[in-house]
Symmetry: C2
Subunit: 361 residues, 2 copies
DNA sequence: GTGAAAGCGCTAACAT
DNA sequence: ATGTTAGCGCTTTCAC
């Protein structure tokens, strides 16, 4: 009581991490009270609270959540597994998710699968071992083991981006098949007939595949077929878009429309076409997919389909906050006609509402 | 007392998570043996190992790392805090980091600060509460509390991207001040004299600020000054680059060089200039910063400085794997002259090595 | 090669 | 409003 100077003078260095007990001793209250103060739970007198907070701050105490999580059987983490960060689409979804989780006490933690199902499985296993409160995973295609793990996780699982397939639990996304079909309809309505597709043939990119399938269906429904297609492997870049375009047009000079698997290669293709003085959109129409911001800065506005990325992230966040399961949420994916699809030759309702929405982005 | 009927018959579902004990019972060995098998430690007979693995797989057991980490006082996580995912620079650093960590057993976990020091502090606190084995944080500027936390973390801390300032522990990056100076030198050597700067004035973007400072120093060293500058707030986009350029050139039509704070707005500016038929690089020179892939797809190759993003990530990974502390690693940042800086008017050594390196990207 | 005991740092549940 | 007790599920350490 009298002279109790902590004799720990000149502690050399290998500083053990501080524990609740240290704060408890410094503040002169039980560990339990410290715990309560630090979590803002239960009734604690103002005097005690202030004493505890002061002690904690002075010592530089950082709670050990590992112990806390083990004791409480609760973890404030949401595990998120996406295929890639290089593709701007995913950071935007993550932004929506983070926004949506704000204030919930839940923290997103990200893992990257590189479009590899095996890696995805490994990353999921790793994340599940931390017993998160929820899972977000891109797409509906996973290894059997991954599906089993997810189904058995005992917490809400949200599959995002795509709704074409069977969900494990909840799913929030757009229909890529429908997006492809609708773009085909738009293109045919504008009078284009010799149509080419440019995209990746990465085996793991199921959404691009479904878009192409839907596109071909849509063409068929309008009595048309895909004239030709050109594929690449690896990441998407403006440069890739240019090269693909050059290759495809060299082979098929009389194509009158190019449908790109995404906006980035579409933008590259657009730049290439404009440089060569091709008459876009009259002689040659173009369209991409995603509705990226990038398109706003190009010389001409590329037609695209908005994939509602941010909204998907937010919706997933809402499901997780509310601990909902088994929800299916298909977001509308709107065709943004931009300036690279000519007006329909016949005077049919040109869809002024679409243009209205365009300005909204 | 007698009739106290919580007859927990027919447990409906709230499936308790599996534990080592479950596997232990299924395999007929002690929990300890199961633990050894699952971690691949110690000597276990093949027969036992196989039995344990089979049991674990059949049950779908996923180890609880929370308990494991608490017991072993070791966590295989590397906490990484970056300002933004929207800025392509950071995903590339993360990619380098992930690559570098591969096979080490260490797992990066990402947090985003949105260029807000307060948020950075909060995210760091959150991550430190999981007791990671290492920290990676962008930049050298942090709140006092954050610096204290990092210094007290007791694990290696690597500050990345920037080396201009005082490090807490290790630092890996480029000198943005030097990058600015060198670009100024390059521009002056090419004979440009009426020079404008375009960039963000976001208070949290210290690297952009240092680049500008170095740039002004470099101009001064060459007897020149900055003629004018134009700033924006918010994210970088092609569109922003266009608008900034239009504004600045409207105010200062006789500028002969525009130095952009980054490649994205630089690319927007370049497109704008080319559309208006400005004579780039003779009448007007342009340069950005970062060395993004994006530049490869533009009609003309924008001059820039390579910021060695991926290499920074890999180097940070190496330091963390080796548990090194107190290392300072300044990566060389190379000016890539591209096609938007004209050749020097006087025949002075045009730096063929630079061009050689250019092809290397 | 395998097992038993102790405890990591915290919180739930129940005192008081 | 504050304290006490008993674990959370695993790994460390030491026995056998």
């Amino acid at each position: 009581m009298t002279a109790d100077p902590p004799p720990d003078t000149a502690d050399p260095a290998p500083r053990r991490n501080l524990t609740l007990r240290d704060v408890s001793e410094a503040a002169g209250v039980s560990e339990m009270t410290v715990s309560r103060v630090l979590r803002g739970r239960g009734d604690v007198s103002d005097a005690t609270r202030l004493r505890v907070l002061a002690a904690a701050r002075t010592l530089g105490y950082v709670p050990n959540r590992i112990a806390g999580a083990l004791a409480s059987q609760r973890v404030n983490l949401i595990a998120v597994v996406i295929p890639s960060l290089a593709n701007m689409v995913f950071p935007e979804v993550l932004a929506g998710l983070s926004e949506g989780l704000e204030g919930s006490g839940l923290q997103p933690v990200f893992g990257v699968s590189d479009y590899d199902p095996g890696r995805e499985e490994a990353v999921l296993y790793e994340m599940l071992s931390w017993r998160p409160s929820g899972l977000v995973v891109a797409g509906l295609e996973h290894t059997a083991a991954a599906r089993t793990m997810l189904a058995a996780a005992g917490v809400p699982v949200v599959e995002i981006m795509d709704v074409d397939g069977e969900a494990i639990d909840s799913v929030v996304g757009v229909s890529h098949r429908r997006a492809g079909r609708e773009m085909a309809g738009t293109i045919l309505a504008a009078g284009y007939r010799r149509i080419g597709f440019l995209g990746s043939n990465m085996p793991g990119d199921h959404r691009a595949r479904k878009r192409l399938e839907g596109f071909v269906e849509g063409l068929a429904a309008g009595g048309a077929t895909l004239t030709d297609a050109e594929f690449y492997t690896g990441g998407s870049s403006l440069k890739t878009g240019r090269e693909l375009t050059a290759t495809l047009l060299a082979r098929q000079p009389d194509l009158d429309f190019l449908y790109y698997a995404n906006d980035v290669i579409g933008a590259g293709g657009l730049l290439w076409c404009l440089e060569r003085g091709l008459d876009v959109p009259r002689r040659l129409g173009l369209a991409g997919f995603n509705g990226l911001d990038l398109l706003e800065g190009l010389p001409m506005r590329l037609a695209t389909t908005d994939a509602a990325r941010r909204e998907i992230g937010r919706a997933a966040a809402t499901l997780l906050r509310e601990r909902r399961s088994g929800v299916r949420l298909e977001m509308p994916n709107r065709v943004l006609p931009g300036q690279t699809i000519r007006q329909a030759p016949r005077p049919q309702a040109p869809g002024p509402s679409s243009f209205g929405k365009l300005s909204g982005r």
